[in-house]
Symmetry: C2
C-alpha cells in the first residue's frame, strides 16, 4: 500500500546489501516514519518482542527473514550451522507466544533448509523461502480482499449506495502483514472499487494500534474513517451506526475460535446482540490445525503493566514522550489477546473464500487438513 | 472517605466564607490534589462542564450549591432575584445532558425556594436545601453500601473466603458522589467488614476516570486493586477471574435501563455471556421516572474528539502534559455514555435495597412513583 503516495511493503531485503533486511519501525507511527535495518538474530528478536513489527502476517514474515539472517550469519561447518539455526529458532519462538504465524514461519524455513545439501544451498534456500513467505502473505491478503469485497458489495447494495460503516479493532491492516492487510484488504478493495465505505477505528488500548496504525494507513489510502475509544462500539451498534465488523486474528483453531487483540470478544458480543455481521479475515497461515477449543488451548500473552500505566505519544513540541496516567505504583494487568468463540462469528474470510467458523466448513475449503 | 488518611467529602461550604463552596478539582488526580473555590454561577457551570467535578451524585450536589450561589449573588429585588435564578438554572442545565441528577437538584432547589417568602428567606433555604442534597447523597450511598455488602458477603461465603474479584467501570466511587460512592460503597463496606475483595479497575477511556480516580481512591482506602485496559474484562470473565461486576449509572429509567459511562454495555454483555452477576448501584436521585426505554429516550452526550486524540498525564519530570496519539487531523467521535438494557442487569442496589431491574420490582420499593 502507499506511504506518502508511494507503494511500500512492511518488510523487504535491503536493495544493496543482502545481509540486511529492512522494516518500518512501527513504534514511531503515526508521528514519524522510521526505517530500521535488521542484521542479526538479536535484531530480529528485539524487533518482534518489542513490537517494532507486529501483526500475524508480519510476525511470520519477519521470523522467516530472521531464520534467513541466522543462516547467513551462522558458522560454515555443518554441525555449527545446525546448532546456530536451532538456537536462533528457539530465540525467535520465545518472543511472542500467541501468534501462530511465528512458529509456522520458523518451521517452514527449517524444513525447507533441511531439504538442501550443503550450507551454501541451505542459505540460498532460506532467502528464497523467506521471500516466498512474504510474497505469499501479500498474495493471500490480496485474495482475502477479493472475497471480502463481495460481502461488502452485498451490504452496499442493501444500503442503496449509502456508505457502509465498518468497525475494526486493532490493526489487521497492511502494517500487520506484508501488504494489503487481512481485515483491511476488503475495505481497500471496496474503496478502490468505488463503494463508499467509512471505518470506525477502535483505538485499541493499551498499545493503541488502531489510533496509531490503522488510522494512519487508512488516511494514507484516503479511506474515510473515525477514531473511537474501545468503549464506543456497543453504543454505535445499538443505534444502527455499524453495518459490519471485520477484524483479524493471531491464531485460529480448526473449529473456528479466534484469538485476536484483547477486546475483540467484547465487540463480537455486541455485534451478536445487535444482529450485525462479524467477520474475521485471515490468511490460512494463521490457522492452528492442532487445536479446537481456543479459550482452553490458545496461550494468551501477558505483557508488562507499564504498557497500561504509561502512554506514548507526541508532545506539543513535536517530540515523543511517555506520560503516566495512573497513581504511582499502581498495579496493572496486561493481557494481549482474547478468544472469540466461533458461535459469535458470522464468517471467516481467507484466501480461499468465505466460510462459516465451523470445523466442517473450514475443512471443506482446506481438505488437506481433514 | 479518606485523602492521605483524613476524612474528606468532594464538595463542602468554605469553613470561613459563606460565599465560597469548595471542591476537589478532579482533573489533576491522581497526580496532584487540588482544592478549588467556586464563587460564581460561571465557576459552577465551568466546573461541571469541564469535569472538575463529575459523577451522578456530585453533579447533583454541585448543581444544588450552584443554585445556592446564584441565590446569594442575585439582586435583592424579588423580580431581579427570580430572573437571576432562572438564568442560572438554564445555564447549569446546559452543562451535561445525560446526568439526571443535574435537573433533579436544580428543580429541587427552585421548588424549595418558592415555598419561602422574601429573598432573605429564599437564600437561607437555598443553603439548607443544597446542604441537605449533599448530606442525603452521602447517607444514601452509605445505605447502598449496606445493601450491597449482603450481596458481596454471599459471594464470599460461596468462595470460602477466597478474595471476591469485582470489576468496575469508570468512577462511581466517592469522588462521583459526596461520599462513599455508589458502586464502591459495597466494596468499601465489605473491606471494612474484613471480607477479602480485589477490584479490577477499567481504565475507562477516553477520560480515564478508572485509572485516575477509581485506582486513586481505592489506593487511599487500602483496597487491593489492579488496573486494566477497558478491552480486558471479557477475557477475565471467560477465565473465571471476575465474581461480580458493580457499576454506577448517570440515569436509570423506571423500567431499569441504565445509562452509564460508555463501555458499560460491553461489560454487561460479557457478564451475561459468562453468567457473572452484573449489579448497578444508584441513589434514587438517579432515576428518571418519566421514561422506560433508555436506548430510545436517554440523550447521550457527545463530547469533543480531542478527548480521544489527546491524553493528559504526568511527564517523567513530574509535570502535567497532553500528548497526541493519533495522526494529525484525525477525526474522532466521543460519545460519553451508553445504555445497558435491563435484561442484562442482575440487580439494582439503591438506598432502599436490592431489586430486579424491572418496573414492577422498582415500583415495589418506590411505590410513591407508581
Amino acid at each position: 500500500m502507499k506511504v506518502n503516495g508511494k507503494p511500500c511493503r512492511t518488510i523487504w531485503p535491503h536493495p544493496d546489501d543482502p545481509r540486511i533486511v529492512q522494516i518500518i519501525d512501527q513504534r514511531h507511527l503515526p508521528h514519524r516514519y522510521v526505517i530500521e535495518d535488521l542484521a542479526s538474530v538479536a535484531d530480529f528478536a528485539t524487533a518482534i518482542r518489542e513490537m517494532h513489527v507486529r501483526g500475524a502476517g508480519l510476525i511470520g514474515a519477519t521470523a522467516g527473514f530472521g531464520i534467513y539472517c541466522a543462516a547467513i550469519t551462522a558458522p560454515d561447518d555443518p554441525a555449527g550451522f545446525a546448532d546456530w539455526i536451532a538456537e536462533a529458532a528457539a530465540r525467535l519462538l520465545k518472543t511472542r507466544p500467541t501468534a501462530s504465524n511465528l512458529a509456522w514461519a520458523v518451521s517452514r524455513l527449517r524444513s525447507a533448509m533441511e531439504k538442501e545439501e550443503g550450507v551454501a544451498a541451505k542459505r540460498r534456500r532460506a532467502f528464497a523461502e523467506a521471500q516466498a513467505i512474504a510474497d505469499e502473505d501479500a498474495d493471500f491478503c490480496r485474495r482475502i480482499g477479493e472475497h471480502g469485497l463481495a460481502v461488502i458489495r452485498e451490504i452496499s447494495r442493501r444500503k442503496n449506495g449509502r456508505p457502509v460503516n465498518i468497525l475494526t479493532h486493532c490493526n489487521a491492516g497492511w502494517l500487520a502483514f506484508v501488504d494489503y492487510g487481512s481485515a483491511t484488504a476488503p475495505i481497500y478493495a471496496a474503496h478502490a472499487d468505488g463503494i463508499p465505505v467509512h471505518v470506525w477505528v477502535d483505538e485499541t488500548r493499551p498499545w493503541l494500534q488502531g489510533a496509531k496504525l490503522t488510522a494512519w494507513e487508512l488516511g494514507q489510502e484516503g479511506v474515510p474513517h473515525t477514531l473511537i475509544a474501545d468503549n464506543t462500539g456497543g453504543h454505535l451498534m445499538q443505534h444502527g451506526m455499524v453495518d459490519m465488523v471485520i477484524v483479524g486474528t493471531d491464531r485460529t483453531t480448526r473449529c473456528g475460535d479466534v484469538a485476536n487483540k484483547i477486546g475483540t470478544y467484547l465487540k463480537a458480543l455486541a455485534a451478536h446482540d445487535n444482529q450485525i455481521p462479524f467477520y474475521v479475515a485471515l490468511p490460512s497461515s494463521t490457522f492452528d490445525w492442532t487445536i479446537c477449543d481456543g479459550i482452553r488451548d490458545i496461550p494468551i500473552e501477558e505483557r508488562s503493566g507499564e504498557e497500561v500505566c504509561f502512554i506514548k505519544g507526541k508532545t506539543a513540541g513535536g517530540g515523543e514522550a511517555s506520560i503516566g496516567i495512573a497513581p504511582e505504583g499502581c498495579r496493572a494487568a496486561n493481557y494481549g489477546f482474547d478468544v472469540t468463540p466461533a458461535r459469535l462469528i458470522s464468517g471467516l474470510i481467507t484466501e480461499r473464500g468465505v466460510m462459516r467458523a465451523a470445523e466442517e466448513d473450514i475443512l471443506r475449503l482446506y481438505p488437506e487438513r481433514g
